[in-house]
């Protein structure tokens, strides 16, 4: 039976059936063969509906929509110009400026693509023009983009919360310090790597002018995070506030949203949204049939009954996640593995919020690991001349930084959880 599901999964994915339908069809086949034939099919609509019947999931399409609006408007360009004028005279100054933009963008959008696309589109040509090694720049952008899902808000964290029932708010807060540490580590490394390049400093009036223009891009994350912290809105509702603000900025400041661009924005949001939500449905259907056949319980029992250290199991889990991360994208990995991993983590006595952060860093690695790495494709898509192998070579040092940080975080879970224990009220 285990062979049926793992073999079926591999086969259907390989012949090119989309992930969502692979999961769904496998679940249907499992129901038919192992759970009473067509009688079990009555569960299909019940589970499908239930999968999406969750208010925190409504944040997902709204964050997708917001990042589309931001990509279309000129927010990214102005932010970069500002950062460049403030940082360019430092050794590796533009690398720092780029990461600064990645961070700001990450703090608005829940998505790595939005971050990599928006910042990449302005930073890549500019940095190469100023003499930065293209491989270094590509690696920096691919890695910087992944911050989008670690620094809150984060779509994978919303999904983690939705699948496991953990508070999305807590997950967001737990991502703050790891996100900051990772950003600083990336900045230090990239500045060191490109230390021989320095520009002449911008004048103060140039800096102020650029800052004035970029004010909207800077205000947006402040309003979103400030609003969540002060309790004016929940993390779920923050998405709606973000969409409204980014529309207002695009319409009144940048004046580049009209009916035609609006239609394009909506259509591409719909495609991404339907794709992600249908994967969730597929994974829930598969999760249902696997659970009723007691397969995850078997794995959990096996894992917890073995006389091996919880840390060994933890390391094995991470190895599996890294391997999956090479071939699948983040949403699929999360929804496929969480129903199995979450009970194991709980049974072993680990902190589920801390584990979420470990998992998100794993997902960051998945975004930049070949052959299927979203950020690699995004940067490849920016310019025909970029090659995947060039990007991969550039990103390797950052992957090492992520792995090292994951080890540190395993030894010091407080890095993620310390903010939760403080009464920030």
């Amino acid at each position: 039976m285990n062979l049926f599901f793992t073999g079926g999964l591999g086969l259907l994915l390989l012949i090119g059936l989309p992930v969502a339908f692979t999961l769904s069809l496998l679940a249907v086949a499992g129901m038919y063969f192992f759970n009473g034939g067509t009688f079990a099919f009555m569960q299909i609509p019940i589970i499908s509906y239930k999968s999406l019947d969750d208010f925190s999931l409504t944040a997902l399409p709204m964050y997708v929509l917001m990042s589309q609006v931001l990509v279309v408007s000129g927010v990214g360009r102005d932010l970069y110009e500002m950062a460049s004028r403030w940082f360019r005279h430092f050794p590796g100054g533009l690398a720092i400026a780029t990461l600064f933009c990645c961070t700001v963008f990450s703090a608005i959008s829940g998505s790595s693509v939005a971050t990599a696309v928006t910042v990449g589109a302005v930073a890549l040509p500019e940095m190469v023009r100023r003499g930065y090694n293209k491989r270094h720049v590509l690696g920096l952008l691919a890695a910087g983009g992944t911050l989008g899902i670690l620094i809150p808000p984060s779509i994978p964290m919303i999904i983690y919360g939705s699948v496991t029932g953990e508070s999305v708010g807590k997950l967001f807060i737990a991502g703050i310090i790891p996100g900051a540490i990772m950003t600083i580590a990336f900045m230090v490394f990239s500045a060191y790597q490109t230390r021989h390049i320095k520009d002449k400093p911008a004048t103060w009036s140039e800096r102020m002018e650029a800052s004035r223009k970029a004010i909207w891009g800077l205000l947006l994350p402040l309003i979103i995070i400030g609003g969540i912290y002060s309790g004016i809105f929940t993390p779920t509702e923050a998405a709606a506030v973000g969409v409204v603000l980014s529309f207002l900025i695009a319409i009144f400041v940048y004046k580049n949203v009209n009916m035609t661009t609006l239609r394009e924005i909506l259509i591409s949001t719909v495609k991404t949204n339907a794709m992600i939500l249908f994967i969730i449905i597929g994974a829930m259907l598969l999760g249902y049939i696997l659970t009723i056949l007691q397969i995850p319980q078997g794995i959990v029992n096996f894992a917890t009954s073995q006389d091996i250290s919880p840390w060994i199991i933890f390391i094995m889990i991470n190895i599996v996640l890294l391997i999956l991360g090479m071939f699948l994208e983040t949403v699929s990995i999360l929804v496929i593995t969480l129903p199995i991993l979450y009970p194991i983590i709980m049974a072993l006595g680990f902190d589920p919020i801390w584990f979420a952060i470990i998992m998100v860093i794993n997902m960051e690695l998945a975004l930049i690991s070949p052959p299927v790495g979203l950020n690699l494709f995004v940067l490849k898509g920016l310019n025909k001349e970029n090659t995947i192998s060039e990007i991969v070579k550039g990103v390797i040092p950052y992957a090492v930084i992520m792995l090292v940080f994951m080890v540190i975080l395993s030894f010091f879970p407080e890095i993620a959880t310390v903010l939760l224990h403080k009464d920030i009220k």
């Binding site: 019940i46 239930k50 208010f55 953990e166 508070s167 999305v168 807590k170 659970t291 009464d423």
Partner: protein, 322 residues
């Protein structure tokens, strides 16, 4: 491989029980007193039937959440499941009776009612839709917790934003002059902490477990509703069971039901005490003031009768007589 062992068991069902596997799902945390009772029920049934009637338990929302539980029971996706009367009320409106404010004043009264004519009416209404009620598992009374002020009378609710679930509790919050707020369960703790909402309503056991004491100041014990969970069986599946198995299940369920009821009373008082020890300001509404609270809640009764029709009115009359 389940089927194989089942076939074999049928062949040598020595002591008269026909072999069957009953899948039972529930959605409460595993250490909740209802969960402990249900797990014990499953174990006893299996033991007493010499392993012939296997009850395979899917705990803590592992298989089904409260949202898809009822439909899965009605379509036979699982044979048995535990879900709240509040959620059953969306299919069987009369089940809303447990959410009607102040219908039950003490634990013993509930036991008497659900095991008498009152319970029969509800069982009948459930069977019409396709579910057989095997057990009324008591969750206990629900209360209000908030951050603004102690609620010494219904008038103190005015202007508060209270997180609510279900329709009748929301009607009550409105009747008292507060506004119900709807949000996902995972967000409530933070919403209370950051004043997104002023308060929430829940049993004290759940408040303790979700650490409400860390984020809310005032606890008001007014016992406004008595939350009931139902262990329900798919009707067709039940009808297909041999009488002997039905008797066994009924008998063990009755034992468990009594045990859970005792626990509910104990847990309610212990958890309220624990919340007070952890620093919450606890106010117990004196019995002679309850009439004021009850009168202010009158609109909720009307809504219930409007939803549940004649059966609803009959049930109300029955509990009022007591």
């Amino acid at each position: 491989n389940n089927e194989k062992t089942d076939d074999k068991a049928v062949a040598d069902s020595g002591d008269g029980y026909e072999a069957t596997t009953i899948r039972l799902a529930y959605n409460l945390p595993q250490d909740h007193h209802i969960s402990i009772g249900i797990e014990d029920f499953a174990k006893k049934v299996t033991e007493k039937s010499d392993g012939k009637v296997k009850v395979q338990v899917f705990p803590a929302g592992q298989l089904l959440s409260d949202k898809d539980m009822n439909q899965s029971i009605l379509t036979g996706g699982v044979e048995m499941g535990v879900n709240s009367s509040t959620l059953w009320a969306s299919t069987v409106p009369a089940m809303g009776i447990f959410d009607v404010p102040y219908v039950f004043n003490d634990y013993a009264a509930v036991g008497e009612a659900v095991n008498g004519e009152f319970g029969d009416k509800l069982r009948g209404a459930m069977e019409e839709k396709g579910a057989k009620v095997l057990m009324f598992a008591d969750y206990g009374y629900v209360q209000f917790a908030n951050n603004k002020r102690q609620l010494k009378s219904p008038a103190d609710f005015k202007g508060l934003k209270i997180r609510s679930i279900g329709d009748l509790p929301s009607e009550l919050i409105q009747a008292y002059g507060a506004s119900p707020v709807f949000m996902g369960g995972g967000e409530v703790y933070m919403a209370l902490q950051r004043d997104t909402v002023d308060g929430a309503t829940s049993g004290t056991t759940a408040m303790l477990q979700r650490k409400y004491d860390e984020v809310t100041k005032y606890l008001t014990i007014n016992n406004y509703a008595y939350l009931e969970f139902l262990l329900a069986v798919n009707k067709d599946y039940w009808d297909g069971l041999p009488a002997k198995t039905q008797d066994l299940l009924t008998e063990v369920a009755a034992e468990t039901e009594a045990w859970i009821r005792e626990q509910a009373e104990k847990e309610d008082s212990e958890s309220a005490k624990a919340l007070e020890e952890k620093g919450m300001d606890v106010y117990v509404v004196p019995e002679d003031e309850l009439d004021v609270w009850k009168d202010a809640a009158a609109p909720v009764r009307d809504v219930f009768v409007k939803n549940a029709g004649d059966l609803g009115q009959e049930l109300l009359d029955m509990v009022d007589k007591k």
